[in-house]
């Protein structure tokens, strides 16, 4: 039996290159370099670790602009078998409902899966909703905040990190697992595999091939909208540059400001 694994990845802007457009007052992400969302790299690595032990076919999917192709090629370079780019102008500005719906439609079109792996959350919107959203559409169980996952018969066993401890759960496949950032160490891609991937190419899907009406996707299919936006007031900093000799003065000021509390009145 060959396991069918789907990995959901998203290309996110590199935080360093994001800035706020001072005229239009919007976040300008378009010029930022794209990187694979860090937790999604851990999801892919979890899939590859399963494939190291068990015969498996890994399909990586992403919904995003055409430029996200490079992220898929990178994943194939690391060992994924197939890359699918779900791209369409109509998908723009989707919220988590519309994103989950679109990705679920892609999974349906792929036809079968035993396991879906996703990142726990993304660094750009960071809701952590898309994994569970897809699981709900697929009527599959979900195991969130995982640090490791292994296959046992027709079930998976995963470790989850919760606020107060580590839970080990077992649930039947098909299932969806979301991986925590830093859960494992992602391997590097090999040049040979990357070249193979470029030769093989990336498949694409749009709203028509997914059978989704345009008003179900993107901004039109999104129940939530962004009303307005405010830029948090940046706290005024003292901006004092000091030398070693001035440390006593600083400590004194911090004590006076109650930033350093002496004695027991800690949480006062």
């Amino acid at each position: 039996m060959v396991l069918d694994i789907i990995v959901m990845i998203k290309q996110v802007p590199d935080a360093e290159e994001i800035f706020i457009d001072p005229v239009k007052f919007t976040l300008n992400r378009s010029q930022a370099r794209g990187v694979i969302n860090p937790a999604d790299e851990n999801a892919l690595e979890a899939a590859l670790m399963i494939k190291d032990k068990t015969p498996a076919k890994i399909t990586v999917i992403t919904m995003g602009p055409p430029a996200a192709e490079s992220a898929l090629l990178e994943c194939m370079g690391r060992g994924a078998d197939r890359g699918i780019l779900i791209t369409d102008r109509a998908f723009a500005a989707a919220d988590t409902y519309a994103t989950s719906l679109t990705l679920a439609a892609a999974v349906k079109k792929i036809g079968r899966f035993d396991l879906i792996l996703a990142g726990e959350s993304t660094t750009d919107s960071g809701t952590g909703h898309v994994g569970p959203g897809v699981a709900e559409f697929m009527q599959a169980d979900q195991v969130t905040y995982s640090t490791s996952v292994k296959i046992e018969g027709d079930t998976i066993i995963a470790e989850r990190e919760l606020e107060h401890g580590i839970e080990v759960v077992q649930t039947p496949m098909p299932a969806l697992v979301t991986m925590l950032i830093n859960a494992n160490i992602p391997r590097r891609s090999s040049l040979r595999r990357r070249i193979d991937a470029m030769r093989k190419g990336i498949e694409t899907m749009d709203h028509e091939s997914l059978g989704l009406p345009p008003e179900w996707v993107g901004i039109k299919g999104s129940p939530t909208i962004v009303g307005s936006l405010k830029i948090p007031e940046e706290k005024k900093r003292l901006n004092k540059t000091i030398t070693l000799e001035e440390i006593p003065e600083m400590v004194k000021e911090l004590i006076e400001n109650k930033a350093i509390v002496l004695g027991d009145d800690e949480d006062a």
């Binding site: 401890g165 004092k240 930033a259």
Partner: protein
């Protein structure tokens, strides 16, 4: 073998006015409501007053009567529960099922959940089941004047902007909140709550997930730490964290770190501050040997007092610092420790000049 829900667009309900009252999902453990939920009960009460609606606590679990009593003390007008021995432990599928049932029966206008691991696991499944939108990780909630529309504010991209999320046509208007962002509800002595607990039998199909083991372990929670001393690559060697730890102990602070030192294995990931680590709001944040790249500063910029130590006068961290100590951290940290100790053993007193005391 693949069964799936009908893929369906988020349908707009026919009569929005039928939806009323404020639901709060009650998370509980050991027979008590969790603190993060108490924050939502306080916030829920405030919103319910504005829309002249009721505050309704909803919970799923094994034994809910004590929870209902506590919900009454904290101001709930109504408590709805679904109870079964099979619902003792949290599991996404049955919990989604019973919460969605309560939502579909009651038709609430607003649904608040705390953004804990449990809340975040549940919320989007429920939202898709009942066909509504979610605003995640909100830090501020209000009602748009003269309407029953929830105005939910959430930080986006590392807190660089705060977006207002509106869910104008779908109900319930659902959010998760960032734990620690709101005041805990006040007790309301004499409050009367209408308690309705339903007992159910969980179908076999929903009981296939098993918890094999649980190892208690507290995650280091830097998000609620009052003081943090962080070290970066400028430490030069893993042993540098001993010095960081000494200062942290002296100040009764937690230890933080930048990403490269975590990647190098000098300190575990749970100490990482920044975009891919924890976002902190300390009263005092000390950054030693950290250059101040944006991926680090987004995680600590909301701290009240920022002190940095760096031997490069051009280091970016200076821009976000109240005190930028231009020095080698191996000279500066012992000096800070020494100074603080002077105050602790009474050799220096606040109000006197430290030079005189020294």
């Amino acid at each position: 073998m693949m069964k799936m829900r009908e893929l369906i667009n988020c349908v707009v309900p026919e009569n929005l006015d039928e939806y009323r009252d404020v639901f709060v999902y009650i998370e509980h453990s050991d027979g008590h409501i969790k603190k993060s939920t108490l924050e939502m009960l306080g916030e829920g009460k405030k919103l319910a007053k504005k829309t002249d609606e009721k505050l309704v606590g909803v919970a799923v679990g094994e034994e809910l009567t004590p929870i209902a009593k506590e919900a009454e003390e904290y101001g709930c007008d109504i408590f709805l529960g679904t109870e079964s021995p099979d619902l003792k432990d949290f599991a996404s599928v049955p919990y989604t099922n019973y919460l969605a049932e309560m939502i579909e029966d009651y038709k609430p206008n607003i649904f608040l959940m705390s953004g804990t691991r449990e809340g975040r696991d549940l919320v989007s499944r429920i939202a898709i089941r009942v066909m509504t939108g979610v605003a995640a990780d909100c830090i501020e909630l209000d009602i748009v004047e003269n309407t029953k529309i929830l105005s939910a504010w959430r930080p986006s991209f590392g807190d660089k902007t705060i977006d207002q999320i509106l869910c104008r046509k779908h109900r319930p208007q659902t959010i998760t909140s960032r734990p620690g962002s709101y005041k805990v509800a006040e007790k309301q002595p004499g409050n009367k709550c209408d308690i309705k607990i339903k007992k159910v039998t969980v179908p076999e199909a929903m009981k296939k997930r098993k918890i094999l083991s649980f190892r208690p372990k507290d995650r280091l929670d830097l998000t609620s730490a009052k003081k943090i001393v962080s070290g970066g690559l400028g430490l030069g060697k893993p042993e540098g964290f001993e010095l960081i730890r000494n200062l942290a102990d002296e100040l009764n602070a937690e230890v933080g770190a930048s990403r490269p030192v975590v990647d190098l294995g000098w300190i575990p990931y749970e100490h990482q501050v920044g975009q891919t680590g924890q976002t902190v709001r300390a009263k005092l944040y000390i950054a030693a040997g950290i250059s101040g790249k944006i991926q680090h500063t987004v995680g600590m910029i909301n701290s009240e007092n920022i002190v940095s130590i760096n031997n490069d006068p051009e280091a970016e961290i200076a821009k976000v610092s109240d005190y930028f100590i231009k020095a080698d951290l191996y000279d500066a940290i012992p000096k800070i420790i020494e100074e603080v100790q002077k105050y602790k053993n009474g050799k220096a007193v606040v109000g006197e000049s430290p030079e005189k005391a020294a």
